[in-house]
Symmetry: C2
Subunit: 420 residues, 2 copies
């Protein structure tokens, strides 16, 4: 019996890959002072029926009726959950609120490259500050996260746009009605995917000329972008961002800055996307919690594919995958009458944070050395006749040294311990 | 809109608590040379309909039909998934296979203390070795995991039993038929929960006298136990285990050693449970992959409740929770004209693994020091007029020192970095 289509079994090397992604996400988010939250995998269906989720997502829900006759759904995205949590308790937290989560999501999508039905996403939100500095801080987190994998500005680009500039332009074109303006943005969102004649017809129905839209994209230079670049440059993050007004984001709730990350060769789907949603919390709470917010989501599937393409990133990932499946020390029991002493050594090493393994049964010393190498161990520590004296062999350099029982703890503490 | 009953929103302090549990689980399992795997949250319903899951679990499934007309279920336990994965690829791995996973599970249970409908579990399995040493290694992992939280043999007890001894006893009593013997074990499993007359009647129907069963429990001393204790003693793990033949475990597939962990005061449900299942993989693969195995599951709900009860464990958890929500350094921008330099400092600190925060907007220095304290920061680093000279204030000791730009990287590297 196999797993369901679009779902993954994570064998140890797959899981180590996944943990390289999620561990890096967590490390960088925490370095930015973001704190982690999470919500349930299963939610009331109504959470997604409300205006906060897009129509496309509603059609892809894994939804059903539970044994208590509740209509429920596997979460397809984090924003409705985090909005609920923020509305319930935003008052208790210092502003700006900087939250992140790392969690699985579920969408019944057509099987295609870069899409799975269960995937992981890093979601980061900065809430309670609508300044350009907040925009820059969130984008810096996104860029540093990508950089932590070994990706550079030659590998990825953050295409940055501004819904505010679009709304101004559309108003100038006579589309001051917000619903109509959003309809126009939904069409413009498909600019890179639909034929020009289809786009022209759809825009024409709203009284817009495709040429005007293209002209705006080609010539508009919203003021925010230079300031954003300046802030990022102070952080040493030059060259990652490009102004690109073709990005408008499909979801209805965005209000200002919006962005999507792509590989430079534009061969893949978006790696990440997000934007400012300054009105969503107020709208969902009937004005009780009116906090501006900006956030992004970064998935594991397209990112993982890209890391495979970029040699520096792949090397880093491969090293992490190898480290996660190896041990630091393999204790060789060269004399079965010293098994109890061997166990004591193994226990001490483990309690000091070393990953240590040993043979469960009696075996020839040569075989045990082979097992140590097969376990990817860096050191073999021989417990035998000479006890309480031991020998340590570095399995990379083949160097052998003596080790006394008294010196063991210090030696272990100095070891490169648990891999990240 | 609230989360569903039995499901949890993890606000930052809840999430830090959860991560204290899962982080400790992962750290100890890896120290034992176990490697991590995972499977899908959603599985084909048939995976649980087969003989490997118990009847109780089948009645508690969150199951439904997906948009592709597949009968699916949220996973209620890990064993069927890991069995599928082992059967598919066990040949590719060195034996013994030492695998662990940390994952959410879903059961539609009656709302009661210690039970939720979505919970986390650490699952550890040691596959391919049926020796008593393997039993001891797995139990040592379980005990060291509990010990890593600050729990001692005064707080928890591993009640150890042996299905083999029970099967021998039942055979002596004329129950050599395996199905009948399992029926008897299912009754004996309820020895501590059902009235004596009910138990006597049920056992009587199988030709067993309750007094004989109680006599066996009181007097039998299976030989394995002394050896197990000896092995654990060599590891310094005395006093955690008690022979207790009342433990038989409900699931049908166990074959030898079985065990459950309880708080010493026996006030709570089982914290963890497991045992040997030497025939399951062979049975599920029609003999293709006949590997012995022993494993345990340890949930987050009862364990979390217990950690709250035990002061030493609670202190440790509270410290981890506080650390997860604080930063290491708060950069104070004392002179707005030095904001770019402040950003550069913040970026450097973060890239060196420090958790660093700073004010997004201009603010008085006194207010920034208050924000630094509110962020739980250990240090305030002042960037201002004196740039490139800075001042560092230890917010615990109030000690203030000068720091040059050149010395910054070394200072940051020596800092206590990311909390575990």
């Amino acid at each position: 019996m196999r797993s369901l289509p679009g779902f993954r079994d994570f064998f140890p090397s797959d899981c180590a890959r996944r943990n390289h992604l999620t561990g890096t996400w967590r490390r960088v988010a925490r370095s930015f002072g973001f704190v982690e939250y999470d919500g349930p995998v299963l939610e009331p269906l109504d959470l997604y029926r409300k205006k906060n989720s897009g129509g496309e997502i509603l059609g892809q829900l894994f939804s059903f009726t539970d044994k208590g006759e509740r209509e429920v759904a596997l979460r397809p995205e984090m924003t409705p959950t985090v909005a609920r949590m923020l509305i319930a308790k935003a008052r208790e937290y210092r502003k700006p609120i900087k939250w992140f989560s790392i969690a699985p999501f579920f969408r019944y999508e057509k099987q295609q490259s870069g899409r799975l039905r269960e995937f992981l996403q890093l979601n980061c939100d900065l809430v309670g500050d609508d300044s350009p500095e907040a925009d820059a801080e969130l984008l810096a987190l996104l860029i540093e996260t990508l950089g932590a994998f070994g990706l550079t500005a030659d590998d990825v680009v953050v295409r940055v746009s501004d819904r505010g500039a679009w709304m101004d332009f559309l108003a100038q074109q006579g589309l001051s009605d917000e619903t109509k303006a959003r309809e126009a943005l939904a069409i413009i969102d498909k600019l890179e995917r639909e034929p020009r004649d289809v786009l022209a017809t759809k825009l024409g129905a709203l009284g817009l000329a495709l040429e005007q839209v293209e002209g705006f994209i080609a010539t508009a230079r919203p003021a925010f972008f230079a300031k954003l670049q300046e802030n990022l440059a102070a952080r040493g993050l030059n060259g990652f961002c490009a102004l690109d007004l073709r990005i408008v984001r499909g979801l209805a709730y965005y209000t200002g800055l919006v962005f999507e990350v792509f590989d430079r060769r534009q061969e893949r789907r978006a790696i990440a996307g997000g934007g400012r949603f300054d009105r969503l919390l107020g709208d969902l709470s009937d004005g009780k919690v009116s906090l501006p917010a900006i956030g992004f989501g970064l998935g594991d599937v397209v990112l993982g594919d890209l890391l495979d393409d970029v040699p520096a990133a792949k090397d880093r990932m491969d090293a992490a995958v190898a480290a996660a499946q190896s041990v630091d020390v393999y204790v060789i029991i060269a004399d079965e009458s010293r098994r109890a002493e061997g166990l004591r050594v193994v226990s001490l090493l483990r309690s000091l944070g070393c990953r240590a393994d040993y043979p469960l049964g009696a075996d020839k010393v040569g075989r045990q050395f082979k097992d140590a190498a097969a376990a990817g161990s860096r050191f073999a520590l021989v417990v035998g006749e000479e006890w309480p004296a031991m020998k340590v062999k570095d399995l990379q350099t083949r160097e052998e040294t003596d080790l006394s029982q008294e010196a063991l703890a210090d030696w272990a503490t100095n070891l490169q311990t648990l891999a990240p």
